[in-house]
């Protein structure tokens, strides 16, 4: 045992315990910790809004370097606050419109390429894809399984026809692949959750109580 003398470690440890107390039931310690969390998180964010964003990208160019064109984005940005003034609150749609428009626009070709075309490329049956598995002649088998799996699970999410006949068969095969995927996600999520607990215990038993080095 080698308990930490650092007051900060004690604060961190006690706060952790306050959160863990939620397991018993919701209580004032948990609520204090929760509100403290949001308060400090936002205080931290403000620090970097100022030092990393507002200063170098807005105030510096506008006020110190005198780039007066920055007045335009500045005014558009101010429009966000019109939402509190009912008579002109529609003006808030201008900055929102610009932002949404651009993001939605760039997302269309990016989504098409990364999540459709590239995925088709990885699924097509060709010798290049067979070799990409690094699995010798098994590569052909793996590719065929992926190919069938993709087509069938796609057919499960096809809503224009009842799942009867051929579509009935493929959608039933499809759901098998989908469930294997969810099973894999399930197994990995269990690992993730236990990892978080281990991480906290490493801190409490190590940094705080000094039981593990």
């Amino acid at each position: 045992m080698n308990i930490s003398p650092d007051p900060w470690v004690w604060i961190a440890a006690l706060l952790s315990l306050a959160i863990f107390s939620f397991l018993y039931k919701e209580n004032p310690f948990y609520r204090i910790a929760e509100h403290l969390f949001i308060g400090v998180a936002n205080g931290y964010a403000v620090t970097f809004y100022w030092h990393n964003i507002l200063m170098p990208t807005l105030f510096d160019p506008l006020f110190r370097q005198g780039k007066l064109l920055y007045i335009i984005p500045f005014i558009i940005g101010i429009l966000y606050f019109t939402r509190f003034i009912p008579r002109i609150s529609w003006l808030v749609r201008i900055p929102i419109g610009i932002t949404i428009g651009y993001y939605v626009g760039v997302s269309v070709p990016a989504t098409t390429q990364a999540f459709i075309i590239k995925q088709i490329q990885g699924t097509v049956l060709t010798s290049t894809n067979f070799q990409a598995w690094n699995a010798g002649s098994w590569g052909i088998v793996w590719s065929v399984i992926v190919f069938i799996g993709v087509l069938c699970s796609l057919s499960y999410f096809y809503f224009s026809k009842e799942h009867k006949g051929v579509l009935g068969v493929t959608s039933r095969i499809g759901i098998v692949f989908v469930m294997i995927g969810f099973g894999a996600a399930f197994g990995y999520t269990v690992m993730a959750r236990i990892s978080l607990l281990i991480g906290r215990l490493q801190f409490l038993l190590g940094d705080w109580l000094g039981i593990i080095q």
């Binding site: 510096d60 990364a114 590239k118 969810f182 894999a184 996600a185 690992m191 993730a192 281990i198 215990l201």
Partner: protein
């Protein structure tokens, strides 16, 4: 029969205590495990290892405190690897919460190297060997913007230095000078890197993700969109293993040390599911 019935009605608090015991004992008894390194991690390691002198590695630190146990060991292992091989590193964050953790990783690993350095050339020096670009939101701005100019997107770094005055940034203009970008993230950001940066500018991307999103991300690894992939604590332990066996760096290995606890944790979860289901099916049979 009675026994099984009792087994299926254990109180919630007892379950919690069992979990804690199962996780704590291996932590205290400390029996580190070796892991077999799987191909996705090995590919990532090799990609980092072969970064040429004139290019940089970008590490996108995107883990917040709640993802720390899984992703922080990856960050440490990557930095140790890069600094040991004197690969130049640019660090950045796309959200504000991870900033402090990136700063923590960078200072700690730099300190590890500098505490044993004999000379200036041996040391890891800010501005020469690595740069912490800090945070510029929203995420898409740096992801797309670095395709044309990194210093335009990040006019100043985390500490407030002008980036174009840093020696390392003199040779680094845009993605053409980036050999690999590794995104350590719990959310969907690695997907944005491939959709916006890789598609348009052709930069190589790899990812270290939490186990929660592992199953989703393998498809991008299969297509080659991700050069390599680390998933969860296990993936971090594999990278730690490579850093220790291939580079001989013996430092704390948080992820590997956790593996025994993870093992018992998994077993107890499986046991819970099986016991619960036995009870469920017995009840169903009785109802029939």
């Amino acid at each position: 029969m009675k026994f099984i019935e009792r087994l299926t009605t254990i109180d919630r608090r007892i379950i919690y205590i069992i979990l804690v015991i199962v996780v704590v004992i291996p932590l205290i008894s400390r029996s580190p495990e070796r892991v077999r390194v799987m191909l996705p991690v090995e590919k990532l390691y090799n990609a980092v290892d072969t970064i040429p002198k004139d290019k940089v590695l970008i590490i996108d630190f995107e883990y917040a405190p709640q993802d720390m146990p899984e992703l922080e060991p990856m960050g440490f292992a990557l930095l140790r690897h890069a600094f040991e091989k004197r690969i130049k590193v640019l660090a950045l964050c796309l959200f504000v919460q991870p900033l402090g953790l990136a700063q923590k990783a960078l200072t700690q690993v730099t300190e590890e190297f500098n505490s044993v350095a004999q000379s200036n050339a041996d040391s890891i020096i800010y501005g020469r060997d690595y740069v912490f670009l800090g945070w510029q939101p929203p995420p898409l701005i740096p992801i797309i913007g670095m395709g044309t100019s990194i210093t335009n997107v990040y006019p100043s770094d985390y500490y407030g230095n002008k980036t174009d005055t840093l020696p390392l940034m003199k040779h680094i203009k845009n993605y053409n000078d980036v050999a690999l970008l590794v995104s350590l993230c719990a959310g969907s950001i690695p997907r944005s890197w491939i959709a916006y940066a890789q598609n348009r500018f052709g930069v190589a991307v790899a990812a270290g993700v939490t186990a929660v999103s592992a199953a989703d991300f393998y498809q991008y690894y299969q297509t080659g969109q991700f050069t390599g992939l680390m998933t969860g604590m296990k993936g971090a332990a594999e990278y730690e293993e490579l850093v220790e066996t291939r580079l001989g760096i013996k430092k704390s290995r948080k992820a590997s040390e956790a593996l025994p606890s993870l093992t018992y944790g998994h077993l107890v979860m499986i046991a819970f599911i099986i016991i619960g289901n036995v009870g469920y099916f017995m009840q169903r049979r009785r109802r029939k």
